[in-house]
Amino acid sequence: MGLTRLLVRAGAARPHVLVAAVPGGTAVRLAAEEQLRRRGWPAALTPADADVLLVAGVPAPGIAGAVEAAWAAVPAPRARAQVTSAGEVSAALDAARAELAAGAPQHLPAMSGGHDAHEVIRGGHGGGMGGMDMGMPAAHGSGAVGDGDTGHGVHEMAGGHDAMSGGHEGHGTGDTSGHDMAGMDMGHMDMDMGTPAGLPMARRGEDRDGLTLDRLHVPLGPLLPDWPAGLVIRLTMQGDVIQHAEAETAGVAADTGSFWTEPWRHAAAGEPVTTGAAVRRRSAAHLDSLARFLSVAGWDSAAAAARALRDDALGSGPSPRLGPAVRRLARRVGRSRVLAWSTHGMGTLLPGEAAATGMSAAALSAGGDVTARYRRWCRELSDVAAVFDDASPLDPAVLAPPRGRPDGTRAPSAVLLAALPRLLEGAEFAAARLIVASLDPDLDEVSPAAGAGHGH
């Protein structure tokens, strides 16, 4: 026992933190990411890799289930922190580390009402936990598909969705990617139709290779790393090719207002806002989008540099070195041949097509393929890198918010969200992640009613 305590204490020196960003929590997320960077604590990608779950923002009912599911999947020893304002992040991280090092008794995660489906799994799979008394009753319930699976906490589709209940689409289909039995002659087979371990079997459908393979129903989000907070995309996949996609929002509170468009809102309300402040905010937004995109593209060092510059841009005080550094990064990323080669021709949004479907300004600026979109961020970063400390008052007619001006009553992110599903269909999983990251809708701009988009 003494050895375990020693290991726990040594391991707590540098805990891995999973930042669960919920809608409205952008400022907290940014503060948390900055703190982690400065402390050198790794950001966990999945609950399985985390020691600390840091919930950035107040989870609305629509996303609370996902957060609970992620927490249930964090292996002990673990600590949880709920942070609602950027200033509290540092103290919360310290407290979490102290809790880890002390090896405090693990509190059990509350089972929320929507998780009854897990009981089925436990019934069928109880033996699997034999001998492992770790205080994680639902450990195998939901986090099994990383954060992706935690989407089910948001939409319990009991019975209504393709004969698959929400939570287990990931598991059931992930493993049983063989055939569905329906419609096959099996008179001479000795078998017992049932649902293995309480999980539904996959169903088949047409696919691009003419092989009618199984369809998997995979919810992506809302808590994936480098993923827009609150976005849920329900995928129907065959292999890793997406056949159908539906975008939804989870836990988006009514009109909290986006962190990224704050200077423009203040200016519209008549408060004094300098051009420099707005430029910094917009550049930080682009750097944040770029960092997430580069992370998804697997270019960790460039992503880390973009995050560091983003934190600098959000800081206060004059910063003569920031402009050149931003320009250098933009040039390095924009000119990378390998990155352009690997994203070329992906998720192409034709300007004409965009206009025909009633999207104007915002969609036009998001036109082209993935390469064109990240290069546009790089270009816009370079263009304004000289005026970070401009003290003249902001003129919204000259400087647009990061994701463009509202298109009538629709926020630019709503337009991006509506364009998403169509771009995803036919893409492979990796391409889909890149497409989402290259559009990077900010759901805080989107009011819940106008959120969803469908594609066929």
Partner: protein, 313 residues
């Protein structure tokens, strides 16, 4: 003359490999800190080592309807493959096991990761690891053949499959110098079979860690350590294959082996941060249409040189 060390030296191999891997991880942490604009201090170098107690103390992940047997088997196969591959690498004048077909053995052990990662992806019964496991198979189909031809080039240059003979055949000219294409393909292959850097596709961030997405505790330690052991084994093998083995002036052979291995390890660690991930869907065509012909041409050139001159050019 390289000789087989006594049997106990098989125990030294993992220790030596782990030592070099630790240096690699520390160097990687250093570069990561620099990329994140963080001050570099001794603590940064030691930080990756804190992962060991952290992971040893953490709980193991259990998922519903998992194939636990294959899952654990696959995770264990990764470090085991690294150590077994390293058994035939001569270090200075000694090698743990001098096999007459050392090059083929190295290749076979490195290929064990195919089975290992596929099982590690299949086991947890979850979507993201499953995609990760399949990604490694796709990547393997792309990188493996060019890598084999690179190994064949070195073996053909020395007219032997014995690693020590290959090192000895580079008396006055390193193979890296007159087989540059094979050397480059080999180094890319090392990144690929240790699924790090530009070939980190199976464990990509877009999959939230891919094959590692559901792995925690000691299992995760095995998987993470395994990748770095594989990288180190690949770097160690590059020394006798392409860089003249332990040959060098002034210092003893073991010191030259250590210096060269360290140099290759650091070059690989540095190189892994230079590029974004190269997805298998793009890389496969590049590998089959460009790299395999290049690697075959390299092997052919080596064969012609050996036929006409009877050795190095």
């Amino acid at each position: 003359m390289v000789t087989s060390a006594p049997l106990w030296s098989v125990l030294v191999v993992p220790a030596l490999l782990a030592g070099f891997a630790t240096v690699a991880v520390a160097a990687d942490g250093l570069l990561a800190a620099r990329a994140a604009h963080r001050r570099v201090s001794p603590a940064v170098l030691a930080a990756p080592l804190a992962e060991v107690p952290r992971l040893l103390a953490a709980q193991r992940r259990v998922t519903p309807a998992a194939d636990t047997l294959l899952w654990r088997l696959g995770l264990a196969a990764v470090p085991v493959a690294g150590v077994l591959a390293a058994v035939v690498i001569p270090f200075g004048q000694l090698t743990a096991s001098r096999m007459s077909v050392g090059v083929v053995w190295f290749n076979a052990m490195e290929v064990l990761t195919w089975a290992g990662l596929w099982m590690a992806g299949w086991g947890p019964n979850a979507v993201l690891p499953l995609i990760g496991g399949y990604r490694f198979v796709a990547q393997g189909l792309a990188y493996e053949l060019p890598l084999m031809f690179a190994l064949i080039s070195a073996a053909a240059g020395a007219q032997s499959l014995d690693v020590a003979d290959i090192a000895g055949a580079q008396g006055h000219l390193w193979f890296a110098v007159w087989m540059p294409a094979a050397f480059a393909v080999y180094l890319a292959g090392v990144h690929a079979f240790s699924f790090l850097g530009p070939f980190g596709y199976p464990a990509g961030r877009d999959l939230a860690g891919g094959v590692a997405a559901e792995v925690s505790g000691p299992d995760r330690l095995m998987l993470e350590a395994g990748r770095w052991l594989l990288l180190t084994a690949g770097a160690g093998m590059a020394v006798p294959l392409f860089l003249g083995g332990g040959a060098g002036p002034l210092m003893p052979a073991w010191a030259w082996s250590a210096v060269k291995t360290l140099a290759v390890v650091l070059a690989l660690v540095w190189g892994r941060r230079r590029l974004p991930v190269i997805r298998a869907d793009r890389y496969a065509e590049l590998a089959w249409v460009v790299l395999i012909p290049v690697a075959i041409a390299q092997a052919l050139a080596v064969a012609l040189v050996v036929l006409t001159t009877g050795g190095t050019p």
